[in-house]
Amino acid sequence: MGLSAAAPLWGPPGLLLAIALHPALSVPPRRDYCVLGAGPAGLQMAYFLQRAGRDYEVFERAPRPGSFFTRYPRHRKLISINKRYTGKANAEFNLRHDWNSLLSHDPRLLFRHYSRAYFPDARDMVRYLGDFADTLGLRVQYNTTIAHVTLDKDRRAWNGHYFILTDQKGQMHQCSVLLVATGLSVPNQVDFPGSENVEGYESVSIDPEDFIGQNVLILGRGNSAFETAENILGVTNFIHMLSRSRVRLSWATHYVGDLRAINNGLLDTYQLKSLDGLLESDLRDLAILKDSKGKFHVTLKFFLEEASTNQSADAITLPQDDNDNFAMRVPYDRVIRCLGWNFDFSIFNKSLRLNSGNAFGKKYPLIRASYESKGSRGLFILGTASHSVDYRKSAGGFIHGFRYTVRAVHRLLEHRHHSVAWPATELPITQLTSSIVRRVNEASGLYQMFGVLADVILLKENAMAFEYLEEFPIQMLAQLETLTGRKARHGLFVINMEYGRNFSGPDKDVFFDDRSVGHTEDAWQSNFLHPVIYYYRYLPTEQEVRFRPAHWPLPRPTAIHHIVEDFLTDWTAPIGHILPLRRFLENCLDTDLRSFYAESCFLFALTRQKLPPFCQQGYLRMQGLVSTESLRQHRVESRLLRDDAPTGRDLEDSSQHPGDQELLGAPLAPGPLAQSLDSNKEEL
């Protein structure tokens, strides 16, 4: 493009002519950040950019945000949960069960204020997104269709090039960073003979009246296919559903993109012999023939190729000619295609090298775990289109997942371009157990984006303090220092949430006996989502991350801890959850992380040369924990403290109990400690 002309705008008059040749081209306005699409992901990114005071602009082709939701899902029911009650006040925790809200500081902008339905109506989403953009004053340029995106090399640019966006009016926009949040907008079509006879999900009638007494064949087995079926289940003769592979139930795969129970009525009627049914076959081997009566017949592409070109449809061989019990031998009145969506690559110039990943066909653009395009630096894919990172694993393709990945991308950008280090809290080591317990109990990003975003604890020298970083994309762990601006020189913990290793899958029975683990020593066999903590002495290298063991989200750690799964996802049990966690942390750091009352610290201070961290960081700084009388009483009873009341024997009795000299909790004194521990047990 004639971008070179932009710079010498005020140059010699001779050049003006050249500029005049590009009529639309005045000065392309330059933005640091351009966001394509004012859907949930685009608005979410706009929010973070706005809060950080960055120079940005969102381009949206429709007149309002969230245009996808004005038409889809066709049957208007969102299958993302709008759980308004959890019995808890913790706002962060409640986001775990709010799959529709975007992140913001404004509690009014929670989806529960927009719908009372557990599975809300899509119109409420449109209204919500509009309010989100308006209330927060996000800079969105509506009615602007970006028709073309290309690159302009410039060494001064942040990334060595600018992104040049051209809209439908020919207006250009120059962007240092391009954030693509256009979602998946192109219906996926499979090419096979007769595919022209097939109606698409995007346009098929949603009025059940239109299907009365019909034989319907639906291609696909995702939520849109089942949603379509659900709508007409009661009026059709029968529905057959055809797909390449077996149905994947989200309760078995733990992946929200698979078939949700709310849509699975057809499974019920199929298995209860009500004429509906599921079939597995590769569409690309089939052909659909329209007979003279306008009915559709399924046959094999192979037969079609055999037949001469001009044969009438009725003459072509059908499978039932050979196999008279062929399953799909009935003619269909309608064939509906519900095969999902693809990313729209068409507007991106080749120079951007925005390729489709090979793993999932042309569905998603190829990106790194940092959501940056592999082809061009500074181009990030956000939202649904970024799902290649965790396709069929986590929630990155859905609002309740990508709202966190967008935040992660924003944090990366803040560091890359504005030298703002990844936000972190520095705390003394005595707060280590607590800070982990706190996060695993409330963090929603960890919970939704399990296996993708994880908290990272960077230890300081001598492990007396640590920095807590939230929701870092763990596949980028090796590059943590350059991406966050934090140092990981003294070891680190990674806190991830995981399902049991062999628990999820389309063919798994998730209701088997003994599926839940209760004992802390079996915690590693936990099946349900539970926190897992990895300890590394050194930051893993890229090689280690890439060649990690199969089915591991992270390279092999120095030590690992599983907090045992919990039915209530409440990991605050003192013995069942917190104690084993503390022991793990202690053994990784080779220190004693117990808490002590001031009195114990006092004793240690005068009888030992070293103090445990809790006494060092609390008591010695005049912030010791003084025990109340009733707690003191329990302490004596628990045998964790000897009663110091004078016994009258102290002075004259030389044959003392040898345990007397042992101090409480002397780490190398198994004798009396063991006994006191044993005596506890009987009461617990």
Binding site: A91, P107, P672
Partner: protein, 785 residues
């Protein structure tokens, strides 16, 4: 965690509930009719008989246990029989109903006792009860300390006592004691109690366990003197008691003059090591005293001998003063140079691996369990969880009410997390403050649970718990940085009723301030007043900021109007100023910061003014500049007793003056207890100390604080699961379904799993303990079934 704790009880319970009906092979248990039974009774012979209806089921749990008891009771010459009550022969021992059957103990044909069958719940109970009844005179059952003292006094100079505490009658420990009493009952007076209070009054630790003491009363000639006691440290089993009594019987100290390698005493046979104290003629008396002292301390753990070097034919290394001989055969003796008696003791204790000779059923002692809480704060808070606190005295804030509340009135806010033990422990103190301030304070006491309202806490910049902040109108919130306890927090609140520094504008005001007239009501909360003089040009802001931050960290310094540039100095002058440097749990940290050795006078009760004077004089004369003189009142700070125990053994009479070099080396020096605490002696002692002429009495351990217990090693458990074949043999390591699934996945996984040498991290220990546990668990399991 639960299962292991209950196993003991479960055994008991299962007997009641199970009532299984399968046929045992009753062959040794005699079955007789009443008439026949009574005809078999021999004079002087004891016999236990169970009377039951002839038509009752032939088996019951009780009968099985009784059957098992036949042999052990026969060993003690007691016969056992089952007497079938038939209709024709009505005996008064035959109960009316089936479930009222009892067992009876006869001696000759005299009925000694009757037992309801439920007291004889298992073989241990049967043996224990029967022996207990028979040994009525040999074993005195007591319930209070007075009884014990009476027995003790009666036996002084005559016989030794074996006193034991068992948790209940009829349990295995009780049986063990009774069996020992059967053998030794004539030699020693056995005394038995089940009263915990009695055991506690003896000063025993871990009262949940059975205890057995040997009272050395025979040696005591002076009736006012107490009998020495030796605690048996092994679990109470028949065998252990037997061994223990044998070592008690052995002479306390033996003199030998032969090659230590050749010497053998009863101790070696019992698996205990020998300690030879090497003596020379010149020091014989002192050596003998030392040896005796060592012998008392090692009683039951090792044999102590006095080795006379002069009359010895073999050579022993010249400097060696102690010879240690292990019980294991063929291990050469060790020659040691140990200058401290404690070192001898600890050497013995660390080098004795007495193989735990335990009988199977007593195997309920095990190593520390990593599932058991060892955090005192967590444990106490957990134990206290059911107590209801008067929380209504503090206002609970929420996201909605937080801002409005702290804006509307001066407030103290406690930020805490409901699941965090430290928070919950402090909440108790906080509520105590509320109770104390009830109706008197203008300050509103509030709290917010950050587990519920984490956003509010984050907004207030609270990232750790617990945190107390004070919100005053028009001022930035101040974080409380004092002790997390009632007293200091109360002080903080009271003193913060006025703002600091106080501006004083006239001399009169200054005088009022110094005399305490100004802010009279606050004087009881403050200990130090500082007056600073400023020129009007100085900004007060800087002064206030620094003062505030300091003031909040140490409530003692609240009446500070001028910041001492050197904090340490400030404390020091404040201590000197108050003239009463008593160290307490609360104030030790400020002494600690001075980084000087502490010169502590331990006193039981208030300090003798003369000592105080002597020390103050030394302070004035600048003898103590390099030290921090202070005193500790055991009445106010009872934990001081434990400190003394760490320094001394045995405890010297109080008061005692100690120099603790906390910051460099950890040596503890004691001012000789035979010298009077007067100026001259002190000066002399200090000089000797300085010159390095004094020996320390102990060195404080310099151990690092390591993890108290290992953690689960999930990594190697996971490894074990992936290398499937080895895991198959591990009981319960995998669930069946998992195994099946794993088989399928195995091929995919195999290539990926790297067989690396397992990382250190105490993993070896982890493994071992886990294996041990595993084995033990399966064993237990069998037992329960």
């Amino acid at each position: 965690m639960m299962s292991s704790g209950f196993s003991v009880f479960r055994v008991g319970i299962s007997f009641v509930i199970m009532c299984s009906f399968y046929m045992p092979t009753v062959d040794s248990l005699l079955e007789l009719s009443p008439q026949k039974y009574f005809s078999t009774l021999q004079p002087g012979k004891a016999s236990l008989a169970y009377f039951c209806q002839a038509d009752s089921p032939r088996t019951s749990v009780f009968l099985e246990e009784l059957n098992e008891a036949v042999r052990p009771l026969q060993d003690y010459g007691i016969s056992v029989a089952k007497v079938n009550c038939v209709k024709e022969e009505i005996s008064r021992y035959c109960g009316k109903e089936k479930d009222l059957m009892k067992a009876y103990l006869f001696k000759g044909n005299i009925l000694l006792r009757e037992f309801p069958t439920d007291t004889l719940f298992d073989v241990n109970a049967i043996v224990a009860h029967v022996l207990f009844a028979l040994l009525f005179n040999e074993v005195k059952y007591i319930t209070n300390l007075e009884d014990l003292q009476n027995i003790e006094n009666a036996l002084k100079g005559k016989a030794n006592i074996i006193f034991s505490y068992v948790r209940a009658i009829g349990i295995p420990e009780h049986r063990a004691v009774m069996e020992a009493a059967f053998v030794y009952g004539t030699t020693y007076q056995f005394v038995l109690t089940t009263e915990i209070a009695l055991l506690e009054s003896l000063g025993s630790e871990d009262v949940e366990y059975a205890h057995l003491y040997f009272f050395h009363c025979k040696l005591v000639l002076d009736l006012t003197q107490q009998c020495r006691r030796t605690l048996m440290e092994q679990p109470l089993t028949t065998l252990n008691i037997h061994l223990f009594i044998k070592t008690m019987k052995a002479p306390l100290l033996t003199e030998v003059a032969e090659d230590p390698q050749q010497v053998s005493t009863v101790h070696l046979q019992l698996g205990l090591p020998l300690v030879f104290i090497v003596s020379q003629q010149a020091t014989y008396e002192a050596d003998r005293r030392t040896a005796e002292w060592v012998a008392w301390r090692l009683l039951g753990k090792a044999g102590v001998l006095l080795l006379l070097r002069d009359s010895l034919e073999v050579n022993i290394p010249q400097h060696a003063n102690v010879v240690f001989k292990r019980a294991e055969k063929g291990v050469p003796v060790e020659f040691l140079v140990l200058h401290d008696v404690d070192l001898i003791i600890s050497h013995v204790e660390h080098n004795t691996h007495i193989e735990e000779i335990q009988e199977d059923e007593d195997d309920d002692m095990e190593g520390p369990d990593i599932d058991v809480q060892d955090d005192e704060v967590a444990e106490t808070v957990f134990r206290d969880r059911k107590r209801k606190l008067p929380l209504e005295l503090t206002v609970e804030l929420t996201e909605e009410t937080f801002n409005a509340t702290v804006m509307a009135s001066d407030s103290i806010v406690l930020f805490y997390a409901g699941w965090q033990a430290v928070s919950m422990a402090f909440l108790q103190s906080y509520v105590d403050v509320a109770v104390k301030l009830k109706g008197t304070s203008t300050m509103l006491l509030t709290r917010i649970n950050c587990a519920d309202w984490s956003d509010v806490c984050t907004k207030q910049n609270v990232t750790e718990f617990p945190i107390v902040k004070m919100y005053k109108k028009g001022e930035n919130p101040v974080s409380y940085a004092g002790m997390l306890g009632t007293k200091d927090l109360l002080k903080f609140i009271q003193l913060n009723r006025i703002s600091y520094p106080v501006n004083i504008t006239s001399i009169q005001e200054a005088e009022e301030y110094l005399s305490g007239e100004l802010y009279k009501d606050l004087i009881s909360y403050s200990s130090v007043s500082v007056l600073g003089l400023f020129s009007p040009t100085m900004t007060t802001d800087g002064v206030r900021n620094r003062t505030c931050s300091r003031a909040s960290s140490d409530p003692q310094q609240h009446r500070v109007t001028k910041w001492c540039t050197r904090w340490a100095h400030c404390v020091h002058c404040s201590l000197a100023a108050t003239g009463d440097p008593e160290i307490t749990v609360e104030n030790l940290p400020s002494y600690f910061r001075l980084q000087k050795p502490l010169l502590i006078l331990f006193s039981d009760g208030s300090i003798n003014p003369q000592y105080k004077k002597a020390i103050l004089t030394l302070v004035k004369q600048k003898y103590l500049d390099s030290l921090t003189p202070c005193w500790l009142n055991l009445k106010n700070t009872p934990v001081g007793r434990r400190i003394l125990r760490a320094y001394f053994d045995p405890l010297p009479p109080l008061p005692v003056l100690v120099l603790v070099n906390l910051h460099s080396g950890g040596q503890v020096f004691a001012f000789p207890s035979d010298q009077a605490i007067i100026e001259e002696n002190l000066v002399l002692w200090l000089k000797k100390l300085e010159a390095g002429l004094e020996n320390h009495i102990t060195i404080l351990p310099a151990q690092e604080w390591k993890p108290p217990l290992p953690a689960y090693d999930f990594l190697s458990m996971m490894d074990a699961a992936t290398s499937q074949h080895s895991t198959r043999k591990i009981p319960k390591c995998m669930k069946e379904t998992d195994v099946q699934e794993n088989d399928k996945e195995q091929h995919e996984d195999k290539s990926a799993v790297r067989k690396e040498p397992i990382e250190t991290l105490r993993i070896k220990h982890w493994n071992r303990s886990n294996w041990f546990k595993e084995a033990e668990k399966s064993f237990r399991h069998d037992k329960e079934l």
